[in-house]
Structure formats: structure tokens, C-alpha cells
Symmetry: C2
Subunit: 315 residues, 2 copies
């Protein structure tokens, strides 16, 4: 088995190639051509930590993948990052372990950012006035990097809770060539931007329905576990198109779960990203519509990005 | 993260130390002091293969473990072993991956053999006349090696389907100091031995109830997945004590599942090995009783043997 470090993985990673492999994964998932066993979860209460194991095989693929990701939220006080993770790639022909990708969670962050890019390509309005970003962490950075490929807009309006995070992100975004306005008032983001990406671990709605302009597309990636929420359920209900990465998973703990739970939407309104990518559902039809992509993160993304990364490392 | 090979693991492995850690694991499991998420399973039909991911955390342990094991049954025609596997050990304090144990399935085989040893220590009759072994593979070898620690008996009666396997195992057992009689008639094993270990991947009963003598202890480790079976359900029903590693799992696919399914036993007859080890249930009471240990293999065994192996490697 070959072992690769995060630095090696990043050095050989080309998002333009990875994104099409991710699209194939979403399509296969929505066509049922995958094996995705139930997620394994651990909670380490004393250590304020958790771990999940996500595994997937896409029928016909030469490999399958098992991913571990951990979040230990007291780690920063020990000088360690909160998140860590790795992926194992095995042969679907012989079962042999082929590679250990010690990406420390980077591939998970990247596959999430690439899913946001796919959603924006399919659903953003033709004219993006400004890009709204909620959150100032690594995922907020990676989402913005990826959006450059799908819009010419270079204006960002940024929301965060802390001046320090806002300042650091502002410097990052300017470096990428963006004009940046930062705020601690999320209503201001909704008033200025018509392509909004929510990337926080919030446990209550940050973005309210009556703030959001017609024609806006919103991608929400924060609600990746029960209890998390970034959007007002009324905003979910107001959306003309609700795209999810996985109906089963989003119904459990995505933004969509809150709106389903309160009866504000029906399950039949949900459209999987793979169904949209395959052309078997309608996306945005005009620039007055509100569209939403609720992305909780699915194991087929891990399998596809690991497969791509390994191929890139071995060529 | 440190990476260890099978050879390194074997070189530092002391079964006498590992066995007590396994016993603690069984006890913790039966006391509910563990986190054992659902097993993840894959089937690779075209390649005649499967993979399962078993993970466990024992409350209070400094580590937790994720184990992958694969069986690809056409591999021998490619010059590869059918089974492979590895274990990942992570910190339960920080989530950091600590070690990759590239044991290629050896630790799984060893923890299974050690469970057989524990069962024999607790349940075998006082005078073992002969040890019966069904099967001639690696697990059959490891079970016999481990039984040396719990009985003075050095007579083996061996059953297998093929002359070649019988001859190889006979040579192995003689090397260990055993007298060996081999046969292709399982009734002969039951007639001569009163400590019998069944180690085959059979899908139909090999050992019939009316062959078995009073006072016999039987350990069955082959039925580790749905459809597998080594014992006549009537033999399970005839046992005075039915010990299982995990009631939930054995009820699904152990030997016990067949006898439960046909109504020949009741679930309340099942006693977990951890309950027996903790002294909270009775084992064998006299040498006329038939006892059975149905061992399907549980993730706490993996967690405990990985934890032990890592400690041994790091000291």
C-alpha cells in the first residue's frame, strides 16, 4: 500500500479534473448505482470529539473508499487542528489496500467546495452581482476559490462573527482578486449578493427569508450533522428549487430536515444534484427564482475524489 | 501516524498478554460500555469479493479502532491470498490517527483464535480426551496453537475435505507436539473428541447432534456471515449452555440464528461470553453437559487486540 501526505495530494490536485469525477459520482448515486453502507459515528463526550466513517463504492469503479474524519473541538487549546481525517482506497477487483491518503481532511473540504461549485454552475443567476459568503474558515475560502471557475463576479460580501476572522478572509479574498466588503450583519449579505454560500457550523438560522432577494441562489454546506442549521426554514420553503446531495441524508439532518420537520415543505419537492446533473430534473428557469442547494456531504464524493487523487498521484 | 507491517506485529505479539485485554473487551461489551456502530458491508459480485468495516470504542480507552477486512475468493487464481485487512488506531483524546496496522488479517485471525481459547478455558470438560478440529486452514492452526495454553491434551482428531489439507495440517500439528489422526468423516471426530473447534466456511451443518458425546464442548467460529453454518441446529438445541460473543449478532447470523429461526431454542437461553467472564452467569456445571460457544467475531475484539498490538509495538 502506498502512503501519501496532504502536501503530496495538494501538489498533484487539479480541481478541473476532479470536478467531473465528482459529477459522475452524484449521477451514479442518484441512479442507485452505488453501495453506500450506513455511516459509522462515534461521540467522545469527555474529549468533546466525534468521528465518522463514510464508505462508498460506485458500481464498475476499479476502487472503493473508506474515509475517516474526526472533529475534536478542544484540540486548538492543545495546539492541534480540530479536524483530521484520512482516506483508504482499496481495489474492487482484489480487495487489496492500494493507498492511504493522509489528507488530514483536505480532500473532504475540497469535495465539499467542488460540490458548491457544481451547484453554482447549475443554479446561479446569469448575472451574479456579488458573492455572499457566510463564515470565514477554510471552507469559506475554498468555496470562493472554486466559484471563480463558474462566475466572472469578483465582488464578495462577507459575514462573520469576529473581526479577526473577517480581516484574515478579506486579505485572502483580495489576494484572489476580489473586492471585499465585510459585515457582522447577515441581512446586509442577503441585500447585496445573489449568490450566497453558507459555510458555518451554526446551530441556528443565520439567513432569514425576508432578507433574501428574488433570483438568489444559496448553497448551504454547514448542516452536516443533526442539530446544525444555517437557514430559516421559511427560506427553504420559499425556494423555487430545492436541490440536495442526497434526499435520504438531507431529510435526516440537512437544512431541508428542519423545513420537512415543521411541515413547510414536502419530500417530493426535493431534487437530487445527480438527478439535475443527469438532466432528469429542471433547475433554475429564470432569474427571478430562488434556488437552494443543501449539501450535507455524501460518501460517493469521498470515493470519487479519492479515486481522482490517487490517479493523479500515480501518473 | 506510524505504519507497522504484519511481520513487525507478529514479532512483538504475546498471546498471553493479548488474551486478558480481549477478556476485558468482552466484559465491557456485555456491560454496554462500548460504542459499536453498525458494520459496513460491501459485496463485489463480479469479483466474488466482499469487504466489511468494523469499528469500536470501549469507554475509557485511550484509543478507538476501525478495521477493514476483505475476502476476494478468486484471488488465489491470481497468486494473491483470499483475505486481506488492516486496522487503524486513533486517539480517543484528540482524534489523531496513531497507527496503521497492516496485519493483512492476521490480527483478526488471532483475536478469533484467542476467543476460542477463552471459551475452551471456561467451558471445556476437565479431562479432554482428544481435541477435534474441523477445517485445515490458518484458523484451524491458530486455534490449536492457542488451546495448548488451556489443556494438556496433545491428541488431535482432524476433519477436512481434501487429502492435501489434511496432510499439511497433520505435519503442522505434529510439529507442535500433537498426535494426529485425520479423517474425512466428521462423525469420527465427534466420536473421539470432547473438545471440538469448527473453523470452516461451510454453508451446511457438518456436525450432527446424534454424533456428539455428552460432556463435549464445541466452539464454532465459521459462521461469521449470513448463510454460513457448521452445526446441526438440533445440536445447538441440545447444548446445556449456549455461549455467544454477541447476542445481537449471533441472532442474525451465527449458528444460533439457525436454531432460533427454526424455533428450536429461545433467545433467553443465550449467554454472552462477557457475562460469563464477569461471573454473572453459570458455565459448565459438570462433565456430562454439552456446551457450545458460537463466536461470530465482534469489533470490540478488534479494538482490544489492536490496542494491545500497538502498545507492544511501541514499548
Amino acid at each position: 500500500m502506498r502512503v501519501f501526505s496532504k502536501a503530496q495530494i495538494i501538489a498533484r490536485f487539479n480541481p478541473e479534473l476532479a470536478v467531473s469525477q465528482l459529477e459522475e459520482g452524484f449521477i451514479a448515486y442518484s441512479e442507485g448505482k452505488v453501495q453506500v453502507p450506513p455511516v459509522q459515528g462515534f461521540a467522545f463526550k469527555g474529549a468533546n470529539g466525534d468521528c465518522c466513517v463514510k464508505s462508498a463504492y460506485i458500481e464498475g469503479s476499479p476502487t472503493f473508499t473508506v474515509k475517516l474524519s474526526t472533529g475534536f473541538y478542544d484540540n486548538p487549546s492543545k495546539g492541534l487542528p480540530s479536524n483530521d481525517g484520512l482516506m483508504l482506497v482499496l481495489s474492487a477487483h482484489t480487495g487489496q489496500p492500494l493507498a492511504l491518503l493522509q489528507d488530514q481532511g483536505w480532500l473532504t473540504a475540497m469535495r465539499t467546495a467542488l460540490a458548491g461549485r457544481i451547484a453554482a454552475r447549475l443554479l446561479a443567476p446569469a448575472q451574479v452581482k456579488a458573492i455572499g459568503i457566510l463564515g470565514t474558515g477554510m471552507q469559506a475560502q475554498m468555496q470562493l476559490e472554486q466559484l471563480r471557475a463558474v462566475t466572472d463576479c469578483r465582488q464578495v460580501i462577507l459575514w462573520g462573527r469576529h473581526e479577526r476572522g473577517l480581516a484574515a478572509y478579506t486579505a485572502f479574498a483580495r489576494e484572489l482578486g476580489f473586492g471585499v466588503h465585510s459585515t457582522q450583519d447577515a441581512a446586509e449579505v442577503a441585500g447585496a449578493a445573489n449568490l450566497i454560500v453558507c459555510t458555518t457550523p451554526s446551530r441556528q438560522a443565520l439567513l432569514h427569508s425576508d432578507w433574501v432577494q428574488p433570483g438568489t441562489h444559496i448553497t448551504a454546506v454547514g448542516a452536516d450533522a443533526p442539530g446544525k442549521q444555517e437557514l430559516d426554514p421559511a427560506l427553504v420553503a420559499r425556494a423555487d428549487r430545492i436541490i440536495v446531495d442526497a434526499i435520504a441524508q438531507c431529510s435526516q439532518y440537512g437544512e431541508v430536515a428542519h423545513a420537512l420537520g415543521s411541515g413547510q415543505i414536502n419530500a417530493h419537492q426535493l431534487i437530487e444534484l445527480g438527478t439535475l446533473l443527469a438532466g432528469r430534473a429542471k433547475g433554475r428557469e429564470h432569474d427571478g427564482q430562488i434556488t437552494l442547494a443543501d449539501l450535507t456531504g455524501v460518501a460517493v464524493q469521498d470515493a470519487q475524489i479519492a479515486s481522482y487523487a490517487l490517479a493523479a498521484l500515480c501518473t
